[in-house]
Symmetry: C2
Subunit: 426 residues, 2 copies
């Protein structure tokens, strides 16, 4: 018997219920699949005032899981287990949790009828093995699964509530939303809420200079930052007795953060550069087109990722080769010959040609060397020119980006969107 | 003191060293950041014959971490800890691992000089707090960090090797590659290797019908499948005394899988539809262009994701509005009026127009309703037509895709690439 353990840091701040999230699956332990359920559930638990003190992942091993559940249950008020409730012999969670609870498994007639119904509605016959999905620990309350045959359940293990949900994220989330959140919310003391302010165009050091005093540890709200794919997210986390109080605390700090960081801030929470830019264009009744070389469609893709973008975007040109820049965008061959495709002059000519062609208010262009090949000492990998053409004339920017091909393309497309954002927001 | 625990399933197959991977960070436990290190390290450990039996995540709590390390060390031969070795007071891993090992922390002169040197090379003065990064448990061997100031170390805890690495993935991976893998490989018994065969265009049930007998549990190689964003990956995992033997086992099963699944198989391991299509075009000296409506640049983006794609892709058109389909692709206004933009006829006309415009061997087109709005009862969200124009004529396909906007666009672009792949591979 092998065993490992963890301890909690739940002692800070308000007295609160604590939780451990356990993920079950040999594929998870082997790293063949990335576990996203534990992080999702931890965020959701925090919002109802329950602090997660640890995540544990175990393989399809009933004894190991039973031990993990028991240990967690002897220490926390809530134990959430995801995965291992399918119909195959590898699905050991029902058995393990029953063992941890010290009770037998018992077949539930209504659950069995539900499973048979699901098969019937799909014109398939239920195989005998599926019947095990109607087995639950004696005394458990069943948590219905509207999307699949794997029902969840909750049962007392020692002094804790053990909640068992499927590993399939979409089913787990649906059941969390429909039943589990409200049930557990009654156990939470206070609320811990995190909101983010999203920035682009400044480095982490500039940001910590501007708001470093707000980022000192031990404060409420607690302010921290993370950098992801060129976007810096300022996380503001508040704890309070109620959700409303926590949101008030957040709002106050958010205003300070935004005032100090100025136009580096482009949005909040799930907002992206493209959602903000498309929103601003639609609001103003303005339109944009794109002329892409090194980003090769990514800039148009980002814009059209946003539902409703057809209201501000009618067409885009991917002009990967020089010939295409001439024929599709009207870039003069002499400019290409004199300055090369990766040049300020060509970026400007691409944007201007695209704007005329599309008859749009704005046009964005990109031309650069995404790598890994194609760089020279004068024009190294990561050199990108972007331009914005509008009725006010054309502005451009030279970028020297770091990273691999995908990063260079990603950052170039973000800088282009940001150039337009700053222009619109002026 | 709160604690949870897990047990291993290392008993199967060859007798092998086992490991627990511990990730440290309150942001991880709260779900604010997704842990990818544990999965990465588990895969790497498997390749050198060490079986991971559990993952544990703890917050920035020295006592909790010390307990987790001790518990893991009393049960496994290898304990890998990532994170918590920065310069701030929240970085508790050095302290916790020293406690678990039952030794004091000791400052290392050479490590201190390295950190001072890193600051000097960046023209910055080292702050006194950074000196703690030169503290290691007495008796530890230091693992150099060429990219940052956070050096790792290894030290005996009970009967186990405890290996401490930074939480920053790029630094952790670099140190794993440079030092840790070879050191631990000596402890592994045998090798467990996983390879994948990648499929597109069949459902999971078709695949399990074709190779279900190979997917029975308990076999070596073990065959399983996962579906990710429309791609079904057949995982083949073999264990053997040596890496070479494991690879031989995999090759035999891989041949069977490929023979049975036929042209549903498009590649292996990290190969994508776009990498396979671009590779096939370059090999044959052929070229492609795109005319995109509902995918809005995503198809061009996918093709130009591949380095070297400029050898087969010169230009692409994003024709989002009907006007653009007429002016940029030469689609006859009557066809649009008669059949609507989302129709087989328009998809064909778009591809044919794009092919003539670009002078390419092939042209792919997409037109559809990505949603969430814009659907009707006759043309619901998810209805997409794709077409492929070539010297042999034009072929097209009607798709009824499920899922949200991003999924519809993703699948549409993949079906278009697959249409070209099947045509080239004939």
């Amino acid at each position: 018997m092998k065993a490992v353990g963890i301890s909690g840091d739940a002692g800070r701040g308000l007295p609160r219920a604590s939780a451990v999230v356990i993920s079950v699956g040999t594929e998870l332990v082997r790293g063949e699949i990335l576990d996203t359920n534990a992080a999702y559930l931890s965020r959701e638990l925090a919002e109802i005032g329950i602090e997660t003190v640890g995540h544990v992942t175990v393989g399809d091993d009933s004894e190991a899981l039973a031990e993990a559940v028991l240990r967690a249950a002897s220490a926390c008020e809530v134990v959430i287990v995801t995965g291992g409730i399918g119909p195959t012999p590898d699905d050991i969670t029902r058995d393990a949790v029953a063992r941890a609870a010290g009770v037998e498994l018992q077949r539930d007639g209504a659950a069995l009828a539900h499973i048979e119904g699901m098969f019937a509605s799909r014109d398939r016959r239920m195989s005998p093995s599926n019947a095990v999905q109607a087995d639950f620990p004696r005394g458990a309350s069943i948590i219905a699964n509207p999307r699949g045959t794997a029902a969840g359940f909750r049962v007392k293990v020692a002094r804790a509530e053990a909640i068992v949900l499927p590993g399939v994220p979409v089913e787990m989330k649906m059941m969390w939303d429909a039943t589990v959140r409200d049930y557990l919310a009654a156990m939470g003391a206070g609320a811990a809420i995190t909101r983010t302010v999203n920035c682009f165009g400044s480095g982490e050091s500039d940001i910590s200079e501007a708001i470093g005093d707000l980022m000192q540890p031990g404060q409420n709200p607690l302010v921290g930052d993370t950098a992801e794919e060129g976007i810096i997210k300022i996380r503001i986390r508040a704890t309070a007795r109620t959700r409303t109080q926590a949101l008030e605390l957040i709002d106050r700090t958010k205003s300070q953060v935004k005032a100090r960081l100025g136009d580096t801030v482009f949005g909040e929470d799930s907002q992206t550069l493209e959602s903000v830019v498309v929103g601003a264009l639609l609001e103003r009744g303005l339109s944009v087109t794109v002329a892409e070389s090194c980003t090769g469609g990514l800039l148009a893709k980002r814009i059209t990722d946003i539902s409703g973008s057809s209201g501000c975007f009618t067409q885009g040109i991917v002009a990967y080769h020089n010939d295409a820049k001439v024929t599709l965008l009207g870039v003069a061959p002499e400019i290409l010959a004199e300055h090369g495709a990766v040049s300020d002059q060509v970026a400007r000519a691409m944007a201007e040609g695209a704007r005329v062609g599309a008859g749009s208010d704005f046009a964005l262009s990109t031309t650069g060397i995404a790598g890994p090949t194609g760089g020279t000492s004068l024009k190294p990998v990561g050199l990108v020119y972007i331009a914005l053409a509008s009725a006010d004339g054309t502005v451009s920017k030279r970028l020297q980006l770091r990273g691999k091909r995908a990063e260079v393309r990603d950052r170039a497309s973000k800088h282009a969107l940001n150039l337009l954002r700053l222009h619109i927001m002026r």
